[in-house]
Symmetry: C2
């Protein structure tokens, strides 16, 4: 047999039911953590004017864009990230909302990269931002949400660490050492590469500013170089009981040009030290995007679905928590109605309808079939109970599929009966 | 002040918090109805090979596509609908799943149309399909879900009606009157336009097949022309108590070429008789998309977010139900912690963290502020309670913001105290 003629595009995923359930687990966890920390949900458009992204990133992402001309001749782009849209949206609507804004979005982004394990051409991102507050209290509140999110997925101390830095520390360093302000982007880029670039290359580049690699490394190594913002954040998070989850790491500056101050990354501390999430302060972006019409300081972070899912699956306690959630979602229904007597199909359909109306997930065989075959369908559906409608209707039998035990009841009070059974563990039924 | 320099593209929506909450109301209602009727969720990619859509629709939608060449030279399209993707996905993965498949998807689709009230260039669609079952029992089960969905939104008898038809009735009619099989698409297209096209035009076109407009109208008007499938569906839905929600309407054939049998539309019966949802049987699509590799009969329907939202907002009882849901979601948090004594900020942060960990949505002022100002922030947040941390800590005060009454408690048992209060109505607190 020939294979199917169409396939998903490279780097795009088919979310068949189990994959979709995993996606929903990530989404529901993100959403519930954000809501209990006082953030409200928004969503920006998936397609935007390309100029919005070029203006924000200064072209950093432009090689990776899904960019095209629409039927109206507009230069448009599938969003590679959402912060540019957020800045646009906030500039337009912010007057309606008291400050600070604590907003989150769960949405899909698109980047034309080489697909590989842990990276596709589309991915889902959890974006969390606080706008309208310039002080480190906002950064601490934001970082605490990153920590809460990891805890909600079942990670514990030792699984991850948040490495916090501050571009201001480097701006001070550079100004003390006479690095011209215009060179700051290049200088920060160099710091960003300090763990990955060859020492000779770094040494050569630093020489242009009369700096040595040792000077830079010594600056990174000395905790006394923490900025005042870092110190405030550390105190705040320690008060919350999160002191063990953060550490100063001045080697972090984050690549994107638009960051202005505190930056941080959540690291997997067991395995490859991957960044699971990252973010920081971008106090000038809203003004840039709005041509100065609105000026709002801001701090935010993003977490992608690929890396967090991989980390969950590699971490036994987090994986078990997810698996337990998936198990609860895996059943197509709670109650499978078995039509043992076709003459009772009409009554069975009414019963299914009544159960559903009462909020009980119920299914049934679309076609007449032998009772044994219907029980097979009930098993495959993942239902907890099979409710048998036979010639003795309105008398009904309820089979507990896990234990193959049964009890008797009546159609007239089926809703109360099933509701009661579904809120109890299977155990008591055996008595 | 100049306006913001960037705006959303025409026909694309910014989901600021209230709009996003309405979107979530639609999504959650769709999801919960589908799940309790035994459907499982999947999601197909937003971007697909353009040929997939051209093959499915025979070009019907091609003028409206967001279609472009990606960086790898592929001809790709933002999905205008999801059924083509579903057929592709099912052809590839169906062997893993027992039949019938009862699957649903909630996703965004894109069509380049003229934006107007009730229509944008993007919209969200609830897609529900049953695959692997050819008989009318599947169509009845599917239509019952359309009805359940309307009921879940708070609509009642008289608000809407499902008009059901069957292309087989027209195929019989055409064969009796000698309309060549090759002309069936044109003939069905004409029937589709019978309410909208000028009678002269219809008469002229029908003359080519030696038919009159009166013959066609008489066929539509006679309930004896219902197909056997329609009769079975009517019996099934009547057994469920849904007999009043459906009616035969042979004038419905639905525009898309790929429908093969039973077709239906959910109509708003109060206002403009808009179609709120529509669908039908497409028994040959999976085989077409998979070049014959997989042959699965199928039936499905889609409901868009624009029309259902408008109908909800125009229908008082449905609008009130939505508004009540939005009210419950509108608060940024349940408990706003007021830091009446800045010396207690550390303890307050710990308290906020503990509340959140216990699943209680909590917020607090990022910066020191006068107590009166903090109470204003608490009011604006929509919180039900303000929890006051002052010099007398660990003694705390709880203010019920709606009634301005208060009670005293202790930090040591704050979780139990707040959990208890949040599960009670405000009333008993006043006693």
């Amino acid at each position: 047999m020939a294979g199917p003629s169409f396939q998903a595009l490279p780097g795009f995923r088919d979310f068949i039911p189990r994959e979709c359930a995993i996606r929903n687990y990530l989404f529901e966890t993100w959403r519930s953590v954000a809501r209990r920390c006082g953030y409200v949900e928004y969503e920006s458009p998936i397609l935007e004017d390309t100029a919005l992204y070029l203006k924000k990133s200064g072209g950093e992402l432009s090689a990776q864009l899904f960019r095209f001309e629409d039927q109206g001749g507009r230069d448009v782009t599938l969003r590679p990230e959402v912060t540019a849209s957020l800045a646009r949206l906030v500039a337009e609507h912010q007057r309606q909302f008291p400050k600070p804004l604590k907003w989150f979005e769960i949405g899909q982004c698109f980047r034309y990269e080489k697909p590989q394990k842990g990276r596709g051409r589309e991915f889902h991102q959890f974006n969390v931002d606080i706008l309208g507050e310039a002080g480190p209290a906002a950064d601490a509140e934001l970082i605490s949400l990153a920590i809460e999110t990891m805890l909600a997925f079942g990670f514990v101390a030792g699984d991850f660490v948040v490495r916090v830095s501050d571009r201001h520390a480097w701006i001070n360093f550079a100004s003390r050492h006479g690095v011209p302000e215009a060179d700051m982007p290049d200088f920060l880029n160099l710091v960003d590469k300090i763990e990955r670039e060859k020492p000779q290359v770094l040494t050569q580049k630093l020489a242009a500013w009369s700096l040595t690699l040792d000077q830079v490394r010594a600056f990174i190594a000395d905790p006394a170089n923490a900025s005042t913002a870092y110190t405030a954040i550390e105190q705040d998070l320690t008060a919350r009981g999160f002191g063990d989850f953060i550490e100063l790491d001045l080697s972090i500056v984050r690549g994107l040009a638009y960051y202005t101050g505190v930056v941080f990354e959540v690291f997997d501390s067991k395995k490859s030290m991957r960044a699971v999430a990252g973010g920081g302060r971008y106090d000038t972006l809203v003004a840039t995007i709005s041509d100065g019409a609105v000026d709002l300081p801001a701090t935010g972070f993003a977490m992608g679905d690929y890396v967090i899912r991989n980390l969950i699956e590699e971490t036994t306690h987090a994986a078990m928590q997810m698996e337990a959630w998936l198990q609860r979602q895996a059943a197509n229904c709670d109650v499978f109605v078995i039509i043992a007597d076709e003459a009772r199909r009409a009554e069975s359909l009414k019963l299914v309808t009544d159960l559903r109306r009462a909020g009980i997930s119920a299914d049934y065989p679309l076609n007449p079939a032998k009772v044994a075959k219907q029980f097979q369908s009930a098993e495959k559906s993942g239902a907890r109970f099979a409710l048998v409608v036979g010639a003795e209707y309105p008398a009904l039998k309820l089979k507990i599929l896990s234990s193959r035990t049964e009890e008797s009841g009546d159609a007239a009070n089926a809703i109360e009966w099933l509701t009661d059974r579904l809120t109890q563990p299977d155990g008591p039924l055996l008595a």
